[in-house]
C-alpha cells in the first residue's frame, strides 16, 4: 500500500500564494533588484560611488552564503574570511602573473617577489595560476574543496555550535598568520595589490571598472537566484530541519553531516567568488580581509538584515558596509558604539534581523488564529 516512489496527488493549494500580490512578489522583487542594480545604479552613480557599490555587493555575495549556512543551516560560519581570502588570492595571483607576463620579459616574477622574494624562480604552487581557466575555476573550487575537507571531518565528528564557531575562528586566524609569514610568496601583510589588467583589460580604465561592476552585480543576482532555489527546495526544508533538530533528522535516515556539508561548501564557494571579484573591484587582497575580525564582519550584515532572509541578509550587508564607510569618517568613535549596539539589538532582541519585523507580526497573527481554532 505504501510504495516509496508514489505518484503525487495534485495539490490545489500547497502554498497559500494564490493572491496575485504574493504570486509575483518573488519574481517581481528579483526583477526590481535587477533593474536597480543593472539599470538605475550605473546611471545614477558616479564612477567612484559605483565602485563602492561594487565592493558592497561583494560583501553581499558573502552574505548570501552566510544566510544559507547560518540562517537556514544554523552553522555560525565565523571563518568565511578563509574562503573569501582563498578566492581572492587565487584571482590576485593570476592577475599578478598576467601583469608580469605583460611586461614582456620572459620568466618575469610578480613585482613584489622581485622586491621581497628570494629572487629565485616562481614557487611551484603559483605556476598553475598563470592559466586563466585554472585560476577562475580555483577561485570557487579551491574554497569549496577546503570547506569540503574541513566540513567532512568537523561535521562527522559532530563538532557543532560554539565549538564550530570557535574552530572556524581559529582557522581564520591561522590562515591569516600563515599568509603574513610567507611574505616572499604571498606579499605578507601588504597582500597582493597594484593590478594593471583584468584578463587583458586595463583596470585603470573607468569603462572596464564599470564592466567589473556589472559582472559583480550579475553574479550577486545569480547567487541570490541559486540560493532562493535552495531555500524553497526540499533540501532547504531539510536544512531547516537539521538546524532545529539534528538528532531527529538522523532518526529519519539522513546523515545530517552531509546536509550541513552541502550548505557549508556552497557558502564557501559563494565567499570565494566574492573574494575573487573583490580583487578587480577594489584592487587589493590582504590578510587583513581574512582574520578573525573581518570574518565576524561578514556575518554582521546578515545578522542585522536578517540571517534567514535572503533579501534581508543582502540588504543588511550592503547597509552595514555603507554605514561603516560613511559614518566612520565623521564619527569614528560613535560608529564603533553604533556597530556594537547594532549587534546587540539585531542579534539579541531581533534574531530575525530587520527583515523579521513583518514576519514577527504575521506569526503572531497566525498564533492568534490557531489559538481560536484550537
Amino acid at each position: 500500500m505504501t510504495t516509496t516512489s508514489a505518484p503525487t496527488t495534485p495539490a490545489p493549494e500547497v502554498t497559500k500564494a494564490t493572491s496575485p500580490l504574493t504570486r509575483f512578489r518573488v519574481p517581481g522583487g528579483f526583477a526590481l533588484g535587477a533593474v536597480l542594480l543593472l539599470g538605475i545604479a550605473p546611471l545614477a552613480l558616479t564612477d567612484f560611488r559605483l565602485a563602492l557599490l561594487a565592493k558592497y555587493l561583494c560583501w553581499a555575495m558573502v552574505a548570501v552564503g552566510v544566510s544559507l549556512a547560518w540562517g537556514r543551516g544554523g552553522l555560525l560560519v565565523l571563518g568565511q574570511g578563509v574562503f573569501f581570502g582563498l578566492g581572492g588570492y587565487a584571482m590576485a595571483m593570476h592577475l599578478k602573473l598576467a601583469d608580469a607576463a605583460d611586461t614582456g620579459i620572459p620568466g618575469a616574477l610578480p613585482d613584489f617577489m622581485q622586491l621581497y622574494g628570494t629572487g629565485e624562480a616562481l614557487p611551484w604552487w603559483w605556476k598553475p595560476f598563470g592559466n586563466p581557466a585554472f585560476a577562475l575555476a580555483a577561485t570557487v573550487l579551491l574554497p569549496m574543496a577546503v570547506a569540503a575537507v574541513l566540513g567532512f571531518f568537523v561535521f562527522r565528528r559532530r563538532v557543532r555550535g560554539a565549538y564550530f564557531a570557535i574552530l572556524s575562528q581559529a582557522l581564520a586566524a591561522a590562515l591569516a598568520i600563515w599568509l603574513v609569514g610567507q611574505q616572499a610568496t604571498t606579499g605578507g601583510t601588504n597582500g597582493l595589490t597594484d593590478f594593471q589588467g583584468f584578463f587583458g583589460y586595463d583596470l585603470d580604465d573607468p569603462a572596464n571598472q564599470r564592466t567589473v561592476y556589472f559582472v559583480i552585480a550579475v553574479s550577486l543576482l545569480l547567487l541570490m537566484a541559486a540560493a532562493r532555489q535552495l531555500f524553497v527546495s526540499r533540501y532547504g526544508e531539510l536544512l531547516i530541519a537539521v538546524r532545529d533538530s539534528e538528532e531527529r533528522v538522523r532518526f529519519l535516515g539522513y546523515d545530517p553531516a552531509n546536509v550541513k556539508l552541502v550548505a557549508y561548501v556552497v557558502a564557501a564557494g559563494m565567499a570565494g567568488l566574492a573574494g575573487a571579484l573583490f580583487v578587480p573591484a577594489v584592487g587589493i587582497i590582504s590578510p587583513a580581509l581574512i582574520g578573525v575580525v573581518p570574518s565576524i564582519g561578514f556575518v554582521i550584515g546578515a545578522a542585522v538584515g536578517g540571517r534567514a532572509s535572503l533579501v534581508g541578509a543582502v540588504l543588511g550587508a550592503i547597509a552595514v558596509a555603507w554605514a561603516q564607510s560613511t559614518l566612520s569618517d565623521a564619527f569614528p568613535g560613535a560608529w564603533t558604539y553604533l556597530q556594537g549596539l547594532l549587534f546587540v539589538v539585531a542579534v539579541g532582541f531581533l534574531p530575525g534581523g530587520l527583515a523579521s519585523l513583518g514576519a514577527v507580526i504575521r506569526r503572531n497573527r497566525i498564533r492568534t488564529r490557531s489559538g481560536e481554532a484550537a
Binding site: M1, T2, T3, T4, A6, P7, T8, T9, P10, A11, V14, K16, Q229, L230, V232, S233, R234, Y235, E237, L238, I240, A241, D244, S245, E247, R248, V249, R250, F251, L252, G253, Y254, D255, P256, I366, R367, S370, A374
Partner: protein, 280 residues
C-alpha cells in the same frame, strides 16, 4: 525462528560503570504491539536508544523481515534508520518551524536523489497524503508544527514514521501528558498502524490503563533485566511484577484496575505473543 522482527540477545549498556541494560533478551514478531513497562530507571529508554544506535551497547540486536536479519549494534544512527527502524522521543521532537506537510515530506525522503532534493516539492506525495489521512492531520497540513497541540505533535511523529515506511516503530511514552480523548485516539492510531502484518511496534509506557487497553503483549523490565513477559493478564498475574510494583501496584492498580484486563472495549487484550497477523 529468530529471523523475523526484532531479536535482541544479551544486550548490555553501561554508563561509567553503571549498567543501565543488563543482558536483555527480547523477541518481538511482526504484527505485534508490544508494550515495554517498568519502573523508572528500569532501562526502557536506554534499550530503545541502544536499538536505534544512540548509545553504545554490546550483545546482539537483529532486525529483518526474513532470514537472520541485520545486526544493528555498531551501526550509525542514520544507517539503522534506513533499515526501516524509527522511533519517537518522550518529548515530541518535530521540526517546529516547518509545516506538517514539510515535516512528513522530509520523513518520506531519506532515499531521494540529489536532483529531487534540489527541486521544490510539487504536490503531495502519495505516502504523505496517506499518513496525513491516517493521523488525521490533513486539515492542519500547512500549519507550522510548532503551533500544534501536544497530542497532534505526537501523531505527527508517528505519521513521520509511517511515511518512512518504517517496519519497526519504537515509541517512547507516546501518550504522556495527553488528555483522555487524545489517548484514545492515539491508541486507535497505534492499533491501525500495527494491523499491517509486516510492522512491528514497541511502545514504552507508564500509563497502565493505556497499556491494558491496547497492548497485545507486554515485557516488564526491572533494573536492566527482563522481569516478566507475556500477555497483559499473564504479566499482571506475575508475582515478581507485583513485587516490583509493590505499593503503587497493590494500592491502586492491581486493586481497582485489574478487572479491566479482559478489555470489553476491544476484546483484544489477550492475544498471545504469537498473535496471528490475519487480523489485519
Amino acid at each position: 525462528m529468530s529471523g523475523e522482527g526484532l531479536t535482541i540477545r544479551g544486550l548490555r549498556v553501561s554508563f561509567d560503570g553503571y549498567t543501565a541494560v543488563d543482558g536483555v533478551d527480547l523477541d518481538v514478531r511482526p504484527g505485534d504491539l508490544r508494550f515495554l513497562i517498568g519502573p523508572n530507571g528500569a532501562g526502557k529508554t536506554t534499550l530503545v536508544d541502544a536499538v536505534t544506535g544512540l548509545v553504545k551497547a554490546t550483545g546482539s540486536v537483529r532486525f529483518g523481515t526474513n532470514g537472520d536479519g541485520t545486526e544493528l549494534i555498531g551501526k550509525p544512527v542514520h544507517k539503522i534508520a534506513r533499515l526501516g527502524i524509527g522511533r519517537t522521543f518522550q518529548t515530541a521532537t518535530v521540526f517546529e518551524e516547518l509545516t506538517v506537510l514539510q515535516n512528513l515530506d522530509i520523513a518520506a525522503g531519506a532515499g531521494r536523489g540529489p536532483l529531487t532534493m534540489l527541486r521544490r516539492r510539487k504536490g503531495i506525495p502519495q505516502p504523505v497524503a496517506e499518513a496525513l489521512e491516517t493521523t488525521g492531520l490533513t486539515a492542519l497540513r500547512d500549519r507550522p508544527a510548532g503551533v500544534l497541540a501536544h497530542g497532534q505533535k505526537q501523531w505527527l511523529e508517528i505519521g513521520m514514521l509511517l511515511v518512512q515506511d518504517v517496519r519497526l516503530l519504537l515509541l517512547d511514552e507516546p501518550v504522556a501528558g495527553m488528555s483522555h480523548e487524545e489517548r484514545e485516539s492515539t491508541g486507535e492510531l497505534l492499533r491501525r498502524v500495527s494491523e499491517d502484518s509486516t510492522r512491528t511496534v514497541v511502545v514504552i509506557e507508564h500509563d497502565m490503563d493505556f497499556m491494558r487497553s491496547f497492548a497485545r503483549s507486554v515485557t516488564v523490565l526491572h533494573a536492566g533485566k527482563v522481569l516478566s513477559e507475556g500477555t497483559v493478564a499473564q504479566v499482571q498475574a506475575d508475582p515478581k511484577v507485583q513485587e516490583v510494583y509493590l505499593g503503587r501496584a497493590r494500592a491502586e492498580e492491581s486493586a481497582d484496575a485489574a478487572p479491566a484486563v479482559p478489555s470489553p472495549a476491544t476484546g483484544e487484550a489477550t492475544p498471545t505473543t504469537t498473535a496471528s497477523a490475519q487480523e489485519a
